[in-house]
């Protein structure tokens, strides 16, 4: 089989696209998770606080807290994880405040996103970058 210069270019371009695919796939997974929660509605900033460390030494257990007064539910999304959903808090009538904290796994340095659904149906969003020294995805 003879490679012409044109073939080589096409194969090269294909390889580059294939190499970029996983990153794109992760980004769209996170977008999908956001869209699934908001139903495609626009989000605004402010009114929600996301507490996450700037640097997490161990990606297996990263403390994270969210607080959004007046929220009905809050979702936490780890944009760089193979499965970006972390958890969803749904607050009942006896919730003392619309805040909660937990611990999550992060596969590597990435953005953590919190979106709150307010009682009036609007959505607010906060994001924070967490640097992870050792990822928490096993392997």
């Amino acid at each position: 089989m003879n490679f012409t210069r044109r073939d080589a270019l096409v194969i090269g371009a294909g390889a580059v696209t294939a190499a970029m695919l996983p990153i794109k796939a992760f980004a769209s997974l996170a977008d999908d998770a956001e869209a699934a929660f908001t139903g495609g509605a626009a989000t605004s900033d402010g009114g929600i606080e996301l507490t996450a460390p700037e640097i997490a030494e161990n990606g297996n257990t990263v403390p994270v807290g969210v607080s959004a007064p007046g929220a009905v539910s809050i979702i936490i999304i780890a944009a760089g994880n193979p499965n970006p959903d972390v958890c969803t808090f749904n607050f009942g009538p006896l919730a003392g405040s619309q805040s909660a904290s937990t611990r999550m796994r992060l596969s590597g340095t990435q953005d953590v996103v919190a979106i709150a659904k307010m009682a009036d149906g609007s959505f607010v969003r906060a994001a924070s970058t967490v640097k992870v020294t050792i990822g928490g995805c096993g392997g």
């Binding site: 297996n60 257990t61 990263v62 807290g65 780890a78 994880n81 193979p82 499965n83 970006p84 959903d85 972390v86 958890c87 969803t88 808090f89 749904n90 607050f91 009942g92 009538p93 006896l94 919730a95 003392g96 405040s97 805040s99 909660a100 904290s101 937990t102 611990r103 999550m104 796994r105 992060l106 596969s107 928490g136 995805c137 096993g138 392997g139």
Partner: protein
């Protein structure tokens, strides 16, 4: 049922009526994420707690949906309003169908 699952809950024993209290819960569970591989390279299937609920006298306080990215031994801290004396019930639902419960009573003075 996953082995060695033990829920632990911290609730104050007494509170004033209408007071907002902080509740901390921890349950020992492996929370197998479905991303890890065993020594033969086979993916270990996901096995996690998928729902956590806290109720007070039948009224919901918080309901949490968990996914694979929640750490081993899931920990939650949240706040609850206590209108009267009663009992908090905590429920964790496992992927394998089993349910773990714990309850704590609180006296309103």
């Amino acid at each position: 049922m996953a082995s060695g699952v033990k829920p632990r809950v911290k609730v104050p024993k007494t509170a004033a009526a209408g007071e907002v209290i902080t509740i901390k819960t921890l349950i020992s569970h492996k929370m197998e994420s479905g991303q890890r591989k065993d020594s033969d390279g086979n993916i270990i299937p996901q096995s996690i707690i998928n729902t956590f609920t806290c109720d007070f006298n039948g009224q919901n306080v918080i309901n949490v949906e968990l996914h694979g990215a929640i750490s081993t031994n899931p920990y939650f801290q949240f706040e609850a309003t206590v209108p009267e004396s009663g009992e908090f019930t905590f429920t964790w639902q496992d992927d394998d169908g089993s349910t773990y419960t714990d309850s704590k009573s609180i006296a309103v003075s």
